[in-house]
Structures are given as structure tokens and as C-alpha cells.
């Protein structure tokens, strides 16, 4: 299983699920990272963290440890 943290910059993939059951996972879901949605890893900050994503027509930035919660398709 891959997570968003391990996806190369510039690639697009599909969200499979969000791991964990706390407020962070809820927040990720509420921002639109729901199962089935298409997400692109646009860039990363100079030190590699946080990462910038594009999904549902907007840009979202999350830290790597949050991105690690987003399980994506191969």
C-alpha cells in the first residue's frame, strides 16, 4: 500500500482511504481527500516538508506525516 508521502512530485493518483480515526483523519476527509478522489502531488517545500497537493480543483498543503495517512492506489 502506498501513501501520499511516497508519491513522486508531479504524479497523480487516487485516494483509497485515510488511516486513523482521530481529528486529523476527519479533517483530511473533510478537506476532500475521500476514497476515490484524484489527487496530484504538485510540489514540496525546500526542505521536503510540507507537500502541496491539487485535488477537487484547489491546492492544499499538508505535512509529510499527515500525507502518510493518505492511502493511495499504486
Amino acid at each position: 500500500m502506498h501513501s501520499l508521502a511516497s508519491i513522486d512530485i508531479g504524479s497523480t493518483t487516487q485516494v483509497v482511504d485515510i488511516s486513523g480515526e482521530d481529528s486529523t483523519s476527519l479533517r483530511l476527509l473533510e478537506m476532500g481527500l475521500t476514497p476515490g478522489v484524484e489527487v496530484t502531488v504538485v510540489s514540496a517545500a525546500p526542505l521536503g516538508d510540507p507537500v502541496e497537493l491539487e485535488l477537487r480543483g484547489y491546492r492544499l498543503s499538508i505535512r509529510r506525516n499527515e500525507a502518510a495517512r493518505v492511502v493511495v492506489a499504486n
Binding site: L26, M31, T34, D49, E52, Y58, I62, R63, E66
Partner: protein, 651 residues
């Protein structure tokens, strides 16, 4: 007829612009009871109806994760004392990302009050090739959907009309389609909230399939191009550094002439008072107490206004989020987050607007930490002290074989010390007292748009008024107290002595409460290498550190020293160099002593205005007390070590 309307929406959707367009300047900005979230109310009339408008804080969801969102929820449900439940809810929706914005709409529809959807940023959406079928959307949602282009006030009339119409509706029905999606969650093994979130997006996906369409040629917009540069690892960082540098320096350059203007105004007022009021205590109170004290505060108004202008423009166009994105990793390392960057940077000019800027940090813990370390960023009021002491006591030699001069190195070190100590304090606090589960850094990078003039102007006006009102009232009181302590008891002069001479003024100060206090604390400051005069000046500087040079001038019998004047500064430097310990020939000001004074000023909380603002922003008296205590302790410790080590090393 009266109507109460709430403006709800995601951050960055142009709610504030809409608020301004409808209601103009807010009639009330205050804190919601018990929290530091700001309440913004306005009022306007339309077709013989009076409409009260509540601008709710930006929220991504009504499952509140921050005080901001909690307030929005409470107001919408009528749970906040003193605020009536809105009769109607306007959800401001960003047309450039309909999908995510509809999430909040889906939650608002469940409240039961009539809902209106106001589509904003339609021009930006159209330029990106995004088309929204409003009629179909309205059908799906079961509520009116209006198109707004707020800068030109297109659609505002229709919105106001629709608001009045909504009062005739019986309430909001939950769309059947949404209900059926939500019903499916009963069988899920996820937590309820997560299952619901997924169900809501399922409903949203169904809607957007029908309602959203893209132009055949969806080319990259200008915004996309700008973004690829600005978030680029190398280029982005360079642009970022240059931007921050120019903001920082322009605060000094731009503010300078304005500050001179204010300064002249203050002097003019002082002159007027001197000629109008006969010599004596009253004149002294007005001129040396009130005008000097309040003038010392008002002079920072240009800096604050300019700083807020920049912050408002950067926030309005969307750059602030990108700055937080770039700096996050670095700041996380010391226990803060990317959003602390702008507040901390601003504090190099003046901690007051910096601390006020920390409102953009929703995470309570991060915000508090930022506010606590912000005063450690060496503000512009410390600069005159650094400059004077560096030029007087740091040997003007080159470092090693380079072109770098030692005084410059010492100056830079003072700034660096503040930053390092702040990093250490933040690091320690975040691992101990403020330890907590890591808050998610989920930050939207909004699409580029032109900042709205009305909103920017409003932010600057708010900041200026707030600064003048709050800092001005307390600092006025404190100035009078310090003046009183320095003027009483009245000096016992020798017969025939002229009280106006510099010498007599110095003597008067020595005999005053302030002077006595200075001598009282001498044992405490001796380990720092200071004598009672320096201690006295430091104590007098506690309300506002900028007075220190003036006080030193008086104590050393120069009368008031204007550090800006060449002569005055030169004289003071000579006097300081010649100063000796009472009754001996030993010089007071050695290099370690000068360094210890600078370090003390670098780390100490000598600014009543800052403490007042901290109190206001944290809605408590506890945190200003904590700031004052820990910073004074750190200042003493730092000064102690610098002096002792410096003396031991024979500097």
C-alpha cells in the same frame, strides 16, 4: 422589518469583501465572550428593512476543530449569549473550488434556517474555464444560488433582495438526495463523523457531475504560472527572501519620514504646552509626563499602519499561505509552525502588530507560543540603544583580516541572540508546558486574486484604532506614574541654585523615588556590572524602552538627550565613557558592561504596550505576567553571563 443574517464560508472566499460591500464599516468589532475570536457585526438598510449582518470566522466544517469554527457553530445554533440566532444564513462559496465549498453548504442546510448560496470569485473561475450551472445547482441544494462579483458590486442588489425574500420562507428543507446519502452511513464501521464526511462528498460528487463543466481549452492560468515559480524549491525561496527583505526594510524607510512628522508634531505640542502653562509641576506633568509618554507611543503608529498594510495585501492576494508553506519545516523544528513566520518577522519592527498578526494562527497552542516569543525579536526601539553603546564602547576594529567591523558584528549578534533565545524557549515550552498532540497543518493555498482595497483599508484602520486606543490608555497612565516617580519628592536644592541646569536636574532625579529605587536595586544589578544610575535607567525604561537614552542623559546631568541629535549623542557618549563608580576612579562602562546592557535590553520585556496587547490578544492577565517574568529573568541571566564571562576574558 428587522432581519439577522449570518455570513458563513470557507476562509479566503471573499466574505470580508462581501461584508464591506453590504454593510460598509463594521458597527462593532469585539471579542466573543470568553474567547479571543473576533466578532464582527454590521448593519444596513434595504427597501425599508434593517438587516443585521454577522461576519462569522472562516470555517471549513461545522465539526469544529478550532475556536474560530466553534464560534461559527455556536452563533448559527443560537448558543452564544448576547447574539441572537440568525434568521437566515448566507454561505459564501468560492466558485473556483465548488466541490470542497459545498461541504460546508451541506452542513448549513441541516440547521433548518433559510440558506442562500452566494457564489464569489466567479470572474476568477471563468478565467480558469470553470462553468457552473446555477439553476441546476439551486435545484439540487433546494435554495437560491446567486452570482456575485463583489469588487464591482455586481449582484449585491439581488442578494439583498433575496435576503428579504428568505424571511418569508418557512425554513430550510434538507435535500432528499443528501438525506439518502447520509442514511447509508448507518452500516459503516467508521466513526460517525468520518462516515458522514464521505457520504457528504458522495452527494457532492453527484451534484458536480451535473453542474460543473470545463471549457474545452482549459489552459494554465496566470495564477498557475505564478505558483509554479513561487513554490519552486529554489526560485520560490529566493522570491520569498526578497519579498520579506523588502517588506522589512520598507517598514523602516517608509515609516521614517512619517515618524519624523509625528515627532515634530509631538515637539510642537510640547512647545505649545510650555508656553501656555506657567512653569511648575503642572507644566512638567503635561510636557514631560503626558506628551513625552504618549508621544513615545504614537510615534510607532506609522510603522504599525505600514506593517498591517503589507500583511493585509499579502493575505488578500494569497501570498501569506505560500509563505507559511515555505517556512513550515524550519519552524516545526523549534516547536512552532509556518503560520508563525509573518507574526515573528513583523516583530522585528515592532512586537505589537506582530502579536496582533498572530490571529491568523488557529491552533491555540501555536498561537500562544508565537505570542510569547515574539517580543524576543529585537524591535526597532532597541536599535538606538544598540547603536549608541556599540559606537561608544565596541572598538572599531576589523574582524580578523576581513572588511567586517566589530561593532557591526556585535549589532548583528544582538539580533541573533533574540532569535536564538526565542527558538530555545519555543523548543522547551513545546516539549513541556505546551506539550500536546501535534495539530494538523492542513493549509489551503488559495488561488491568486487581487486584494480588495476595501478589505485592506479596513484591516489597517482596525489595527491603527485598536493600537491607539489600547496602548494609548495604559501607556498614558504608566507615563504619568513614571513621571511622578521621577519628579517626587521635590528636590532639596541649595539656596540660590537654578533648578533648570543640567546638574540640578540630575540631582533632582537622584533624590526622587526613581533615583531611590535605582539605588535600592543596586545590589541586584551589581553582578551585571551596573551602577545605580544604569539600574535607574533600566527601571525607568520598563514602561517603554525608548526612554532609556533620555533618562541616561538626565542622570548623567545632560538634561534630556535627543539621541537623534549628533551633539546630544556625542555628549552622552563622552559622559558615559567618563563615568566612574561613586567615590572611586574606576570606570563604570567597560566593554562587558556595555554588552551586558545590550543583552539585557535584547531580552527584557520593557514595553508596557506590548504587555497590554498580549493581555488583549490572550484575553487574560496571566500571559502578560508570564511574559514579563520570564523575559526579565532571562535578561538578567543573559546580562550576568555576558558581563562575568566578558570580564573574566579581559575584554
Amino acid at each position: 422589518m428587522k432581519l439577522t443574517v449570518a455570513l458563513l464560508g470557507n476562509p479566503n472566499t471573499g466574505k470580508s469583501t462581501l461584508f464591506s460591500a453590504l454593510a460598509g464599516i463594521p458597527t462593532r468589532i469585539a471579542n466573543y465572550p470568553g474567547v479571543t475570536v473576533e466578532e464582527k457585526l454590521g448593519q444596513f438598510r434595504h427597501r425599508a428593512h434593517t438587516i443585521k449582518l454577522i461576519d462569522l470566522p472562516g470555517a471549513y466544517s461545522l465539526n469544529a476543530k478550532s475556536p474560530d469554527e466553534q464560534v461559527a457553530v455556536d452563533v448559527l445554533h443560537g448558543n452564544l449569549p448576547g447574539i441572537e440566532q440568525p434568521d437566515c444564513i448566507v454561505v459564501v462559496v468560492d466558485a473556483t473550488n465548488l466541490s470542497r465549498n459545498l461541504y460546508l453548504v451541506s452542513q448549513a442546510l441541516a440547521i433548518g434556517k433559510p440558506v442562500l448560496v452566494a457564489l464569489t470569485l466567479c470572474d476568477v473561475a471563468e478565467s480558469k474555464g470553470i462553468h457552473i450551472n446555477r439553476e441546476k445547482l439551486s435545484e439540487f441544494l433546494g435554495c437560491p444560488v446567486l452570482r456575485l462579483v463583489a469588487p464591482r458590486q455586481e449582484g449585491i442588489e439581488h442578494l439583498a433582495d433575496a435576503l428579504i425574500e428568505s424571511s418569508n420562507r418557512s425554513g430550510q428543507t434538507h435535500p432528499e438526495s443528501l438525506k439518502s446519502h447520509l442514511a447509508k452511513t448507518v452500516n459503516s464501521d467508521r466513526p460517525v463523523a468520518s462516515a458522514e464526511a464521505i457520504a457528504r462528498y458522495g452527494w457532492i460528487d453527484e451534484i458536480t457531475k451535473d453542474v460543473l463543466s470545463y471549457s474545452a481549452q482549459r489552459s494554465r492560468s496566470l495564477g498557475d504560472h505564478i505558483d509554479s515559480v513561487l513554490t519552486h524549491r529554489l526560485l520560490g525561496t529566493v522570491v520569498f527572501a526578497l519579498t520579506m527583505l523588502s517588506i522589512f526594510s520598507s517598514i523602516f524607510w517608509l515609516a521614517s519620514p512619517l515618524m519624523d512628522l509625528v515627532s515634530e508634531g509631538v515637539e510642537f505640542a510640547a512647545g505649545l504646552a510650555e508656553s501656555a502653562i506657567p512653569d511648575g509641576i503642572l507644566q512638567s506633568l503635561v510636557v514631560d509626563g503626558v506628551i513625552a509618554g504618549v508621544g513615545g507611543v504614537v510615534i510607532f503608529l506609522p510603522q504599525i499602519a505600514i506593517l498591517f498594510l503589507f500583511v493585509a495585501v499579502l493575505e488578500g492576494c494569497g501570498y501569506l499561505a505560500r509563505a507559511a508553506f515555505l517556512m513550515d519545516r524550519l519552524l516545526v523544528g523549534v516547536g512552532l509552525s509556518g503560520k508563525s513566520f509573518i507574526p515573528l518577522l513583523s516583530s522585528f519592527a515592532c512586537a505589537i502588530p506582530g502579536i496582533m498578526a498572530a490571529r491568523t494562527i488557529e491552533n491555540r497552542r501555536d498561537r500562544l507560543l508565537t505570542i510569547l516569543v515574539a517580543p524576543l525579536m529585537s524591535c526597532s526601539a532597541r536599535l538606538p540603544v544598540y547603536l549608541l553603546l556599540c559606537s561608544a564602547f565596541v572598538p572599531n576594529v576589523a574582524v580578523g583580516n576581513s572588511w567586517i567591523r566589530l561593532p557591526a558584528v556585535v549589532l548583528a549578534s544582538m539580533y541573533l541572540i533574540g532569535v536564538l533565545v526565542a527558538a530555545i524557549v519555543a523548543f522547551i515550552l513545546s516539549r513541556t508546558i505546551f506539550r500536546g498532540p501535534p495539530q494538523p497543518f492542513v493549509l489551503e493555498l488559495p488561488s491568486w486574486r487581487w486584494p480588495q482595497f476595501a478589505v485592506v483599508a479596513e484591516r489597517v484602520r482596525e489595527a491603527a484604532v485598536s493600537f491607539l486606543k489600547n496602548a494609548g490608555t495604559l501607556i498614558l497612565a504608566v507615563s504619568i506614574v513614571v513621571w511622578a516617580l521621577g519628579s517626587f519628592p521635590r528636590p532639596v536644592l541649595e539656596a540660590g541654585a537654578n533648578p533648570e541646569t543640567a546638574e540640578e536636574q540630575g540631582e533632582a532625579l537622584r533624590q526622587s523615588f526613581l533615583g531611590q529605587a535605582g539605588r535600592l536595586i543596586e545590589p541586584v544589578v551589581k553582578p551585571l556590572g551596573w551602577d545605580w544610575r544604569i539600574g535607574c535607567a533600566a527601571v525607568a525604561s520598563f514602561p517603554a524602552r525608548e526612554v532609556v537614552l533620555g533618562v541616561l542623559g538626565v542622570i548623567y546631568n545632560l538634561g534630556d538627550v535627543d539621541p537623534g541629535e549628533e551633539e546630544g549623542a556625542g555628549m552622552l557618549i563622552r559622559q558615559l565613557r567618563a563615568a566612574t563608580w561613586d567615590g572611586t576612579d574606576r570606570k563604570v562602562f567597560t566593554l562587558p558592561v556595555a554588552l551586558s546592557i545590550m543583552v539585557f535590553f535584547a531580552l527584557c520585556a520593557q514595553c508596557a504596550s506590548t504587555l497590554v496587547i498580549i493581555g488583549k490578544e490572550t484575553a487574560s492577565w496571566f500571559w502578560p505576567l508570564v511574559s514579563f517574568t520570564y523575559m526579565t529573568a532571562l535578561a538578567w541571566i543573559g546580562a550576568f553571563f555576558v558581563f562575568q564571562i566578558g570580564t573574566a576574558l579581559g575584554w
